[in-house]
Every structure is written in structure tokens, then in C-alpha cells.
Amino acid sequence: MNALIQHACCRRSTCWAVLLSLLLVNQPAVAETPIDERQDAASEGHVEVINISGSVEVAGWEEDQVAITGTLGRGVERLDFSVDGDQTRIEVIYPQTGRSEGSDLQIRIPAGSSLDVRTVSASINAADVTGRQWLNSVSGDITSEVFDSDLEAETVSGSLDVSGAAQPTVIALKTVSGNIEANAVSGELEAGSVSGRIEVDAGMLDRARLGTTSGRITLDGGLASGGRYDLSTTSGRVSVMLDHDADLDLDAQSFSGRIENCFGLDAEREGYSPERSLRYRAGEGDRTVRIRTMSSRIEICAESLSG
């Protein structure tokens, strides 16, 4: 009997040992790895960054070098970092199978570089980059500064936060559910979301095209002479505060929502439908504002009239 118990214990301990070793084997083999690499790069080259999870922070600097610091997550295979002519490529290579953790990259690039960052869940933050930017994530939040080059940023469920330097440029922002915020942007802005909120505090826009399905749209700021705002949503509320009401050509329509304004006008019913519209024209009428909603409320005013 004792022998049997001893045998069983022995077998049990063997089992535990095997299980423990199996567990250990399944753990990522490599701990977090610090990164500190740099290479010479063109002052106005193109930098491509790919990282699935974690974070990507890119900052422009005056050096003609690309420098990377940060950490590779546990279980990550390696960091690929190559410069070929004016093309720089940085990619975190994750294992095809097995668990791995996200990697956090802090990257310095020549300020005049164009930048293309793609992630899945990693957040993206770009600052002081004056070249063109393409920023794309599935669920990561994206933050960027815009100077005089164009920006395209899109994410499915992350948020987009863009700040401009009041220099005219072309900005395109898209999300599915993420909120969009754009501050001090000038030039042309296109922003669209299905259910995310869009908030724009504009510098001086020549053109803005903002659209949602159910997300709220708030636009506050300057519309240049000859400029145009087009805002559209089905059920998201729309609030617009223009810098002034001079030379304005406004046409706001809602199928069944209310239209409130500070122009001292009443929205009119259209024919036999519940549709309401508000039209206002002042001066040359060369600053065009068009707003349409299906069922949601429109609020529009100009700072010069808001008291």
C-alpha cells in the first residue's frame, strides 16, 4: 500500500513537474526588450512604421537621422529597421503563433519626412512632423499635429485628435465609432464618422465637409471668403457657430428636426412635408453654408450676433 501511495505521489509530482514545465514553455521566451537604434536618413524622405499593439510616438527633429527607443513587448520576435535611399521602414515583427505583448516605440525622424503609420490596436501620436502624414489604426487612438502638409487619418473605433498650426492644408479624417476632434485647422477639412462625434474648432477653413450617421457635429470657427461648409447627418445634432455673418449664404434643411438660429428667422415648412428649411443671405453671399439632417436638430449662429 505504502508503495502504491509512494508511486502515486511520485507520479503526481512528476505530473506537476511536467505541467509546470509546460506552463513555463508556453510563457513568452523573451522578456521586454529595450530598443535604442538609429540610422542616417534623408531629410525629406519617407518613413513607414508598422506595429500591431502598444504605442507609436513619432516626433520630428532637425537631425538627418531616424532614432528609435522604447521597448519590444514580451514574446515579440524582433524589430526590423531599414533605410534604403530615402525610404525608412520600421516594423515590429510579432510571432505567428503564441502570445506576445505590445511594443512601445518612440521614434525621432527628420521633421520634413512624410510619415505612414499603421497599427491594429497601438495608439499613434505624431508631433512636429511637417511632411505629409498617413495614419491608420483599427482600434488605436490617433493624435497628430498638422503643419503645411496634408494629413489622412483613419481608425475604426479609436479616436482622432488633430491640431493644426493655422496653415492651410488638406485634412481627411475618418472613423466608424471613434470621436473626431480638430483644432485650429485651416484649408480643407473632410471628416466623417458613423456614430462618433465630430468637433471642429477651425482656424480659417476654405472648405469643410463633415458627415455622420448618428454622431453629433459641432463646428466653430472661421469660413474664408469663397469658402463652403457642407454638414450632413441623419440623427446627430448639428451646432455651428460662425465667426461672423457677413457675406453669408446659408441653407439649412431638416426633414423632421428643429432649426434654431440667431439670425432672427423662423425655419419654414416646405410644401406638404414636415421638412423645415432656413435660408439666410447677407452681403455678397460668397461664404456658403449647407446643412442637412434627417431627424436631428440644427443650431446655427454667428459670433457677431450671439451677443
Partner: protein, 206 residues
Amino acid sequence: MTNDRTDHSVNQAVLEQAGQLPRAVTPDRDLWPGIAGRLGEQLPAEEATANPAVVTPIHSQRLLPERWQAPALAASLLVALLLGYWIGREGTDAPSSAPMVTETTPGTGELRPVSLVEEVGLLEARNAMAAEIEAGLDRLPADARIVVIDNLTAINKALDQIDAVLEQAPATGLDRQLLISMYTDQLARLSSVQALVMNSNQEILL
């Protein structure tokens, strides 16, 4: 990625073309009395085929065997309706009691109403984009997939809502212009979602 972007630009082109389509489609007057009047005139003409004393139109004698006359009548009715439809596209605020455009359901000969969005090809664009998005969902991580599906539902709900109002409202031209604009705007949202899903087809995804 390049192909995805090409697909997206094709869809953008479709949307832009859709945007060029006339948006106000209500005739500026009630066309039905005129059509009914023509129908009334048609009856003596048909009787004339059995009565040589009445002059039969030359095109009827030469080109239209008897078995084609009924379909031809239906076709001419449809053309008349469509003409009225498009002539009235610069429509005024005047209310209209114009009949809804109809088409024959294949195989049944039964007339059914044609949705306005179907008529101008927007439904086709919508279905194509929705199919591409669904096909691309596998490229997304599970949580993002749920977000896209939820938001796709929201867009479809909005589109159906607009479509339903379009079908039901005996609306003014302006009214339909707004609704069609809203519809194309939502198609643009759908196109954006499609582009986002397709752009997520990256080599970086595991």
C-alpha cells in the same frame, strides 16, 4: 492594398456619378389625367384595326404584330411615366399625385413599385458596398468587427428610414432632393467604412 484603394476609388466614382443624378424627381404637374386620356384615345385606335374605315397608325401596321401590342402599350406607358418623371426633375413646390413608377416583376408579369433609390442605381451601389464590407470583416480583430457590424446596422437603419420616407411621402421636389442627398451622404459613410475595413487588410494583421 492597391487593389483595395482602387475598389474604393471605383466606389467613390459610383457615388460621384450618383451625386450627379437628378435629385428632384417629382413631375411639376399631375401626369395621370394625360396618361388616362391617352389610354382613352388608344381604345378607338385598337378598335380601328377591326374597322378599315378608321386609319391605323403606320407604325402599328408595319412594326407591331398583335402579340406585341399589349407589351408595347405597357412599355409606352412606362416611357411616358419615366419621361414625366425626368421632365419634372426640376420640380416645383407644387404637390403632385403622379403615380409611382412601376416595373414588371420577372416571371410574374405583375407590376410592382420601383423604389426611387433602386431606380437611380443607389440601391445597387449600397448592396455592393455592404457585401464588400461583410466580405472584409474577417480581416478585423473581433472587437473591431463588432464595432463595424453595429455601425453598419446604424447606417442601414438610416438608409432604410430615408428610403421608407421616400416611398411613402407624396413629397415636394425639394423634399425629395433633401432625402436623396441624405441617402447619398449615408452611402458615402458606407463607402468610408468599406475603405476602413479594406485598409485594415494589412500584412500586419496576424
